[in-house]
């Protein structure tokens, strides 16, 4: 995306209608293990989501809550995404902030909530250990998977409905 975000937003753009159509898509053709929904019926720009850990990874069978916040300029700017559930992952810090390129400089207006959820799920599968936010996790992931899992389980909290 070039230039300032404001100047490149077409006239008549409405973040609400865009989010509404994304929501419909998400509801009518959901991806397994991924889900998201607005938190408040009055405000469509704050969503919460759930990501299930992919099979064959230390996160298997675990479910994590995330929060998404969309600016009025969405989809021309990336939403703010963070983990609400305590997370142990090389690219997630202790406050839940995520280091993921598509949520930063690699964001594009063609991405949507579904692609974000999918990217996060694959981030659980394959962390990017070259730029870790949690250096200990990155090191353990490479060197001591058992210890990694131990730390993960110690930190994991089941979602309470």
């Amino acid at each position: 995306m070039e230039g300032s975000s404001k100047s490149s937003i077409p006239d008549g753009h409405s973040v609400v209608s865009r989010l509404q159509s994304e929501l419909m898509q998400l509801m009518l053709s959901p991806s397994p293990g991924l889900s998201a929904f607005p938190e408040d019926e009055e405000d469509l720009t704050k969503w919460c989501g759930i990501i299930t850990g992919p099979d064959g990874t230390p996160y298997e069978g675990m479910r994590f809550k995330i929060a998404l916040e969309f600016a009025q300029t969405y989809p021309y700017t990336a939403p703010k995404v963070r983990f609400v559930s305590p997370m142990w992952h090389p690219n997630v810090d202790m406050s839940g902030n995520i280091c993921l390129d598509i949520l930063k400089d690699q964001w594009s207006a063609v991405y949507n909530v579904q692609t974000i959820l999918l990217s996060l799920q694959s981030l659980l599968e394959e962390p990017n250990n070259s730029s870790p936010l949690n250096a200990v996790a990155a090191e353990l992931w490479d060197k001591d998977m058992r210890e990694y899992k131990k730390k993960l389980i110690a930190r994991y909290e089941e979602i309470d409905d």
């Binding site: 159509s21 509801m27 959901p30 929904f37 607005p38 989501g49 759930i50 409905d161």
Partner: protein, 774 residues
Amino acid sequence: MTLSDEGRELSEQLHSLLHDVDSSLEDDLEGILTWVNPNEPGSNHQMRPPSLRVKSAIKSLLNGVVTSESFIDLLGKYMIFQTRKHFFLNYQSLLYFKDVQKLERYYEFPTRYVNIFSSEEWCDEMSGLRNYLIRQNSGLKNNIQLRLEQLVHEDDFDMACKIYEWLCQAEGRLLPEILVDVLLSKVKLFASKNMNSAWTQRFTIMEAYNLFVTNYWSVFCRMLQCMEDDHEITNEIYRCFEEEFIRIRTSQVFDIFVTGFPTTKPTLLELRSVLKTSVKYTELITEFLYQFESKMLNPSITTAEILLSYVRAIKSILIVDVSFRYFQLLTNFVRPYLMERHDTVATFLYAMLGLDASDLSSKNSTSTHMSIASQLSAELRGSHQPISSSTAERGNLPHGKHALSMNPYEPAYQQIIDYYLHWNPEPADSIQANNDQALISKELFDIIVELFDSKDVIVREFLGLFTRKLLGLRGYKLESNWVQSLKVVKKKLDFKTYSSAQEFSNINNIDVMLRDVKHSEELCSLMHEKLGLSDRIIPKFVSYLFWNAHSDFSALPKDHPLPKELEADINNYKKAYTNVKKGRKLRLHPEQSIVELQLRLADGRDLNYEVTLDEALVLSYLSSNGDGTVEEIVKQTNLDISQVEKSLKFWVKSSILRYSTETSRYSVEERQNVDVKHAVERQSSSEIVNATDSVDLQQQQFIDSMQKVLPFIKGMLTNLGSLKADKIHSFLKMAVPKEIGYSATPSQLQLYLNALVEESKLVKTPNGAFRLAK
């Protein structure tokens, strides 16, 4: 000393006094004492003039030489003593004014003959007794007041004055409070007599007041002992009339708002001029809502009737309430109820757009329904014009409803000063309303549209109506009122302001549909005239993507074997179309096709039917094969079993087909069975089946429509944990897009959620919320 002792002693004293003078008169004295004694009812005067003996005794004792002053004194004491004795023994048994009068006459009677009291003396004595009586006997006091009120109600002012005077004497003062109560109750009675049914008159209050003053004011003035031109009181009476007017009209609010509207307009205007506080408005509207609910909002009332009364009520409220504050209350009140009814939007649209009421009629409508529908239509005619100029004028008044009205009895400068110095601020919302010119020019259409959750509901229904109308159109000519209504809808539901492009394209689909119809006409005449195709087929070429509002055209239609001749004709059309429109393919939609049938049966019946293609195919199959079971027909016609059964029911009901219970086969009834009873039974049983069918169908449709929103329910519960039904409802209203459509009411949703709990898809938590089953 007891009472009898004192009496005896007085009597003895009198005797001894007389004895000293002339002992021969003692018998006379004894006779007089008995005659005047009220406590000896058997032998006293008994309200009859004294006998000669008593008369002469009185004469000789009172006027004779023997009489001394002390004797007269003592006799007076004796009489007063006996009167008091009688009074205190009896006063508690006095219940009514007439008893009191009787008793007073009884006491007074002997004094006419034994004239030893001055009038003041006797009056003082009586006043004392009256005073005691009125203080001690509260039952009597009440009765006397009631009697006074009753007499005033009956216009018997002579007697009323008497009673009032008596009361004043007894209390020893004037009694304005009692008189004011009586006056007010008279005003109340008079007002209800003169105002109750005067709905078509404009100045009811003034007229009733004038009449009241003419007839009664002078009498009341006398009783109140005030001047006839005491305007403080007359103004107060006028205000009472106003209050009464408001009270009466409030109690009749449903009748004047709905039943009698628009002939009640004069009284509504009058009501507007006297309603001055928001409390009164609130009372009026609350009462209206209460009556509206009990009279209209129940299942036996048709939607058209409810809408009709709603529209009339809105018109009435707009007349009465210039602040435009209160009609919203009615809208909010009625909305949930009307939204539960599936035919609300359609009924509204038909009426609003002035479409022919007969278009709306379903099978079960009667002439009453039709007349209500046309009344509604008449009420709504012109509703898309700004609200009547009179309303607008009112809105332009400098101070709206508080405009200064001059009272002729007060100096003008005083009133002006009072008016401007006693200004009370109005609630914020009304100031906004008063200044909001946009609201004043608001049209009835807009107000009623607010009844619906959103304009989309109307657009969707209108599209459905329009599509159905166009699909069912015979030939290609659309009635002008439909064209007109399209214009109105497009203008009123201003689509440019819509953020979502979805509705915009939706309403414009109608343009494509109209173009399709026009195009079909051209194409049809080309095919009939130039290409020589069968003119028994009147095709509509629809661009199916734009006709989706009513039914799903995108699904490929099933292939049903058609009668050979028809099949050939259709194929000719397909070929011709592909020739004319290169690269395009024509597809028959049997579910939208209408077939005209001419039937000639063996018993000579010649019948014409306009039926669906399903029905025609079923009959055609049976007519060529003689008979068949349901399964055979399904197999041969490639129709769904439900369609086949429906068609069979229709033909059996029309006495074209016969069903044999022995063979379970249907066949054409070439000769009609004359057994009418049989026919009636058959018909009624099939109607019952139809009725249950339609209930099932409605339920099925509801469940189907809810199935579409199930993913949304699951989605929100996955992410948000457990939610209560009303929260889920508001989420669904926000999240479900128009093309899927969520129109259930909270109570319907609750039912559906409970059904999901039964299916173990959801779990209900102890606090009544729902969450996904694990």
